[in-house]
Structure formats: structure tokens, C-alpha cells
Symmetry: C2
Subunit: 226 residues, 2 copies
């Protein structure tokens, strides 16, 4: 990682576990929690890509709700407005992955400027970050909502260097989502893929500069490199 | 369907069964045929959307190959160049769904102008259509390759009215892919969803004008409406 002045994080799936919602789904729809959580996440991503291509942006809260509605219809279950809200609100307090709080502390001590660049709305991001006690870690929390289009459209990555006052080549972008790592690499960031669950990287013509299993591992690696 | 002058078809999944490939996959990778076919199709679509958003178009043949490579890596199987080619070449002779040839004949007799508008490359489309004996059915076979971006980006739907010399409101667009039906509807076509497998429609803010189970059903419906 050459001349890295800022570290910019994806939020959902990278810092925060989107499958935190499984428990609540399981409570309301017994035996379907895992299935609902998986389909919901897949459709949420698809809808961000499709709405971006169609030029029909709705913010991430709406897209997340639409994806949940699709999922429940597909499962042919019945639900109340209250149950839908209950499940959706889980997105406001997703749990960070275990190692994240301490690892962010280590990176901060190393004097790196830390920021978030996410598809989430400003409200969603503020809520989930505050709930996890991580608000003091980030100098900027940037939402694509300013551009009314989602990742991996190139313009949204530009928000980070613009806000942080650095060149894109000086940014280390970190995501667990291979498509997001690929988009950020094409844009011109240095990129790190956190591969916690031994997944296969996507075949989109680019590769991550660094691959780690946890954020801890990256913090140690950066410390060694000084 | 008001004042419909032309019927424009999606190809893959609509006229042609993308899971024709299962048999060949099963032959080369026993017990993995269905799994490979499903993941391959999902990744193929994702890569069209992601490459379009990233501004990194590669044609549908390349994207289809990349998606297959991802799928085989994910399955942790070994393969030869020959096996990869063999599987990939299945895309050049996918089978049409059973009712398709006769139903196209019925629509032709009704005096409708028929065309294809597909993500496929011109070579892929000519091959699959010729192999199925359907070349005489279509007055135009249109590939998004002219625009170097994939559906559901709005500009690619414009190719059909431009080539056919009709207004977009006079086009009935037919697809089995809910995201494609949604894109076409947002663009301004009349749209028909062929829902052969009792799937759930997507939550992208629009609905199909007509839903049928087979292309036959649509041909009969149009005949009744005169």
C-alpha cells in the first residue's frame, strides 16, 4: 500500500454484518430466517444496480424495504406492517464484525484518516455507526445519496477523494463485497478485500491489491509496513 | 395491448432456455450440473449490470465466459480449456421453450412485425436463432452490442423503435426476466411478462401490462383482441 493517506470503508457486509437480521426474521418467520436474510441481501444489491442502470434512483432505505417485500412475497408468507418495520429497523443496528471496533482503534493510532463510503442513506449510516459506538472513529461518513446513484457507478467513488482532500491513488478502499472492490479498483483506489468467509472473488477483470481474512490482519500488516 | 405494431422479444430465458446447459455441465461435472447452471446464469446477469455501471463493457460472450469461470472456481473443480469451450458453446444452440416455434408462427400470421432485442452478441444471436430454425420469424435481430452497454440501461431499448421505425408506445416487449420487463416498462414500451415457472415479480416500482404463462397464451390473447 503505497503512500496511503486515507482508509475508506464500505459499510454493509464489511464493517457491519447484514445477517444480523436473521435472528429477528427467524423470530417472526420460524425456520425461514436464514433463507429470508440471504434472498433479501441478494435482491437489495440487485435493486441498487438495476435502479442505477434504469436511472430510477430510490434511496437505500426504500430499496432495502422493496427487497424485503419481494423476499416475503416470494416466501409466500403473510406479514403485518409492524413486522415489516421491525425487521427493516434491524438495519439501523446491525452488529459490527467482532474484530472491527478494536481494529479501527489500531488504524486510528497509526494516524490514518478513516472514512466510510456507503450506499446507505445518511440516516441509516449515522444510526448503525452510533449504535455500534464507532462514531468517533471516522472523520467522514459519506453516502452515495448525494449523487442519487449507487456503487459501482464511478462517480460515487469520487466523493471520497473530494471530501477527504486527497488524490484517489492515496486512498486505500476496503470492502468485503467483491463487486465493490472491483469497482473501486477500476476507479483508481488501492483496494483491499476482506474475505472473512472464504468466498470466490468476482471475474470482472481486476484483482484486489491486498486480501485479508479480517480487519485485524490488515491493521497488523499496515503497522509492519510502518 | 393498444395499437401494437411490433412485438420485440428478449432472447435468453424468454425464447431460449438458458438451462439447456445443465446436461453438458452434468456430463463433465457429475452431480453439479444444476448448481453450475444456476450460479452461472446469476453471475452472468450480475456481470452485465456491474460492467455497465462501471463503464467497463465487454461483450456478452466474454461476460458469459467470465461468469462460467467464476462458477467453476467457486465449485473448486478442475477443468480443461476444451471442457470450458464445450460448455460455453452450448450457448450457441440453446433450446427454445417447447411452445415458442409454433407460437411465433401464430403471431406472424396475425401480421405482427417480430424482432429480438438481446444482450447477446450478433454472432451468439444468429447462431442460437438459426440452430432453432427461427431465422425466418424475425425481421430484426438487435444486439445491445451496438451501444456497448447492457439492459436495463434505457438507451439500449431505444434501439428497437429506431430500427423498426415505430414509436416506443407501439412496441409490445416480451421477456421472462422481471428486471428486463421492468426496464422496458420504465423506458415506455408496453410489456408482457412470461412467467413460466411461477416466479415472484420484482419490486422495482413498475408492473407488467400483461402476464402469461406461455407464449402460446399471449398469441391466443392477441388473436382474441383482433
Amino acid at each position: 500500500m503505497d503512500n496511503c493517506k486515507a482508509i475508506v470503508f464500505d459499510a454493509y457486509g464489511t464493517l457491519f454484518d447484514v445477517h444480523t437480521v436473521t435472528e429477528k426474521c427467524e423470530l417472526i418467520f420460524p425456520r425461514l430466517g436464514g433463507k429470508i436474510s440471504n434472498t433479501w441481501r441478494q435482491k437489495q444489491l440487485e435493486y441498487t444496480w438495476l435502479r442505477s442502470l434504469m436511472g430510477r434512483y430510490e434511496d437505500f432505505w426504500e430499496v432495502t424495504r422493496d427487497a424485503l417485500v419481494f423476499t416475503l412475497k416470494e416466501q409466500k408468507v403473510e406479514w403485518s406492517d409492524e413486522a415489516l418495520s421491525d425487521i427493516l429497523n434491524e438495519y439501523l443496528h446491525l452488529k459490527p464484525y467482532n474484530e472491527v471496533p478494536a481494529a479501527l482503534g489500531k488504524l486510528q493510532v497509526q494516524g490514518k484518516q478513516l472514512a466510510v463510503l456507503s450506499n446507505g442513506t445518511p440516516h441509516m449510516l449515522q444510526s448503525v455507526i452510533r449504535h455500534a459506538g464507532l462514531a468517533s472513529k471516522f472523520s467522514y461518513v459519506i453516502s452515495v445519496d448525494e449523487r442519487k446513484i449507487f456503487k459501482p457507478f464511478m462517480d460515487v467513488y469520487q466523493l471520497a477523494p473530494d471530501k477527504l482532500g486527497v488524490h484517489k491513488e492515496e486512498v486505500l478502499f476496503i470492502s468485503s463485497n467483491p463487486w465493490d472492490v472491483s469497482g473501486a479498483k477500476v476507479f483508481g483506489f488501492q483496494v483491499c478485500w476482506i474475505n472473512r468467509f472464504d468466498k470466490q472473488f468476482d471475474e470482472l477483470g481486476v484483482e484486489p491489491d491486498v486480501v485479508v481474512r479480517t480487519l485485524d490482519e490488515l491493521a497488523e500488516k499496515l503497522q509492519r509496513e510502518g
